[in-house]
Amino acid sequence: MHDGSGRIVVQNLTKQFGPVAAVQNLSFTVEPGSVTGFLGPNGAGKTTTLRMLLGLVTPTAGIGLINGRPFHELGNPARVVGAVLEAQGFHPKRSARNHLRVYAAAIGVPDVRADQVLQLVGLGAAGDRRAGAFSLGMKQRLALATALLGDPQVLVLDEPANGLDPEGIAWLRSFLQSYARSGRTVLISSHLLAEVEQTVDQVVIVSRGQTMYYGPLDNLRDQQQGRVLVQPSDPAALVAALREEGITAIEPLPDGRIAVAGVEAKQVADTALKAGVSIYGIQEEKADLERLFFQLTNGQYAAAPTQYGGQPPVGPGTGYHAPPPGYQQPYQQQPYQQPGYQQPYQQQPGYQPPPPPPGYQDPPSGYQPGQGQSGLGGGA
C-alpha cells in the first residue's frame, strides 16, 4: 500500500482560500531519521501545509505524500503518521483515558495502549481527569499521546511547544530526537527558530507560502558569514598583511580589536604569524541564525531580483521574489529547474543537500553570504 520509507514529500502544494493564497507552490522533502523544522512566521502557511499533508484540507494544486502515498491511501493512517495539530480538540467532559480509548478503538490498538501513551507523555496520574480541566501544556501532552497511539513511523507536530513549560520543552526535545534517531521521521513546525534550533537537524523555512530555504540547519549557519575578532600587537601590520592576502573585509572595533569577515580564525592567526604580529586574543563570532531567519522570512516581495544568487534579472526564475501572474506556470511545470538557480547552488561550497526527490533543486541555496542585507532581507 505505502512504501514504508517514512519520507514526506510535499510537491508544489498550493492552497487558495478565496482571494488569499495561503500556500504557493511549496515543495520540500522530509527524510526519516532526522528532526526537520518547518519554520516560518505566523501566516506563512505552515498549518495549512501540514493540514493538506494530513488530508484535512484539500489542496488547490499539488500533492502531499507520506510514504509515497496521499493520506487517504495509507490504509490505517494513524499507524503510519501521528499528528499534533494546533487547535486540535478534546471533548471537555471526556476523561483523558477515555479520549485515548476512543481513538485506540478507531485505530484498532488494544485499550492498554491508552495507558501506555499516557505514561509516555507524563500524564499517567491525570488519566481520569476531564480534558476540559487540563492546562494548555497538559493538552499538548494529551495531543501527543493521541498521535503516538498507533506507534506511527512519521510524527507531524504543529507548534508543539506552545503552552509547554521549559521542562516540558526540554522533555519534548529529547523525546523527538530519540524518536527520530530510531529511524523515524519527525516534522515539527514553529514560528520561532530559537524554539527548535536545538531540536532540529534539517529546516524548511517558508514565508508567505513559499519555500525560502530547505536543507541542514548547519549549512544555513555556515552560509551566514561569521567574523573573526582578533586583538593583535600591531593592528596596522596585521591589516596590511591581510590585505596582501586579498582579505579586505576588515573593520576596527571600538575596543581596539579588529573584526575580519569571511575568514577562519586559523587563517588570521597564520597571517599574523607570517607578518610577525603577536595575537593576544582571537575569537570566532558565529552567524546569528535568528537574524538570518528574519532575513529569509521578511521582505521577500521587496527584494531586488538581481541580488538573488547574483543572477541578472532575466528568465522566469528572477520573478521568484515577486511572482507576477505569469510567473507560476513555468515554475510549476519545472519546479526548481531554472538554470539560474543551479549555478549559484553548485558554486556553493560545503552545501550538502539531503537526498532530494528527482529533479528537485532548492532555490534559496542561491543565497549569497554577505548579501543578506541588500538581497533577501533588503526590503524589510
Partner: protein, 291 residues
C-alpha cells in the same frame, strides 16, 4: 476496519454524559405525555360512554365501547418525545466540529466515508435505543391512566412500537444531517426545536386554512407525525366499527396525522427529508476543509 470505527464512535457517545442527559427528559416527557393523554382519553371515553351520550352515539350508529382512544395519546406522546433523539443526533457532528475533535476523528480513519459511515451506524443504533425507551415509557404511561378497553391489542401495540422506533431513528438521522450542515451545536438545537415545535405548526396552520391540508403531509414534522399518527388512526378505525367519514378526518387530526398519508407513505416522505439533510450534511462534511 469499519468495526473499529463503529466501536470508536460508540465509545464517543458513551464517554460523555449527553446520552443519559437527554435520555432522562426523553423518558420523562414520553411518560408525562402518555399519562396526560391517557387521562384525557379516559375522561372523554367516560363522557362518551355515560348514559347521557348513549342516546347520541346510538343515533350516530357507533359503538364507543371498542374505541382504543389510547392510540392517539401514544402517537402524540411518541411524536413529542422524539424531539430528544433528534437533538442527540443534531449534536453528533456539530459538536465534533465545534470541539475540533473532528480533526482527530479524520486522522484516525482511513477516509471520511468510513468515518461518517461509522457515525451513521452508531446513530441509527442510538435512535433505536431512544425509540425503545420512548415506546416503553409511553406504553407504561398509557397503561396506567387508560381503561384496558381503550388500549390496543398486542398486534396494535407492536405496530405502534415499530413505527415509534422507526420515527425515532429517522428523527435522529434528520438531526445528524441538520447538525452537519449547521456545524453549531447551539444553533442546531435551537433551529431543530423551534422548527419542530413552533415553525412547522405555524406552517401547518397556514396551509390548512388555505385549504391545502394535503401539503402538511409533505412537511418534515407533518410526515413524521403521520408515521405514528396514521398507524394510530388506522388501528383505531379498524376496531372502532362504523365511523362516519367526517369523523375520520377529525380522528386523524387528533392523532396528529391531519393531511398525512398512509403510514408508509408518510414514512417515505420523512425518509426523503432525512436523506436530503443527512446526505447534504455528509456531502458538506466530506469536502470540508478542517482548519
Amino acid at each position: 476496519m469499519l468495526g473499529n470505527l463503529i466501536k470508536a464512535e460508540f465509545r464517543k457517545t458513551t464517554t460523555t454524559g449527553l446520552w443519559w442527559g437527554l435520555l432522562i427528559p426523553t423518558v420523562l416527557i414520553a411518560l408525562g405525555w402518555a399519562l396526560g393523554t391517557g387521562f384525557v382519553g379516559k375522561n372523554i371515553m367516560d363522557a362518551v360512554n355515560s348514559s347521557d351520550a348513549e342516546e347520541l352515539t346510538r343515533l350516530l350508529g357507533i359503538d364507543p365501547s371498542q374505541w382504543q382512544v389510547s392510540l392517539f395519546g401514544m402517537a402524540r406522546s411518541i411524536n413529542i418525545a422524539t424531539i430528544f433523539p433528534m437533538i442527540f443526533g443534531g449534536l453528533a457532528i456539530s459538536t465534533e466540529i465545534n470541539r475540533r475533535t473532528i480533526t482527530t476523528t479524520f486522522l484516525t480513519a482511513p477516509n471520511r466515508v468510513s468515518a461518517l459511515s461509522a457515525k451513521l451506524v452508531v446513530y441509527v443504533l442510538w435512535g433505536a435505543i431512544y425509540g425503545l425507551a420512548i415506546v416503553a415509557a409511553v406504553s407504561i404511561g398509557i397503561a396506567l391512566t387508560s381503561d384496558s378497553s381503550s388500549l390496543p391489542d398486542a398486534a396494535g401495540w407492536l405496530a405502534m412500537a415499530g413505527v415509534g422506533v422507526l420515527a425515532s431513528v429517522l428523527m435522529t438521522m434528520f438531526g445528524v444531517g441538520v447538525g452537519a450542515l449547521m456545524t453549531s451545536p447551539v444553533g442546531t438545537t435551537v433551529v431543530l426545536v423551534l422548527y419542530m415545535l413552533l415553525i412547522e405548526n405555524g406552517l401547518q396552520l397556514v396551509v390548512s386554512t388555505q385549504g391545502l391540508p394535503e401539503l402538511v403531509g409533505f412537511l418534515p414534522n407533518g410526515s413524521v407525525n403521520g408515521l405514528t399518527g396514521s398507524v394510530a388512526a388506522s388501528l383505531f378505525l379498524s376496531t372502532a366499527g362504523v365511523v362516519p367519514d367526517d369523523l375520520v378526518e377529525v380522528l386523524r387530526a387528533i392523532a396528529g396525522a391531519l393531511g398525512a398519508f398512509d403510514w408508509w407513505l408518510s414514512g417515505l416522505v420523512f425518509l426523503a427529508w432525512t436523506a436530503l439533510f443527512f446526505l447534504g450534511g455528509w456531502a458538506v462534511t466530506q469536502r470540508k476543509d478542517i482548519t
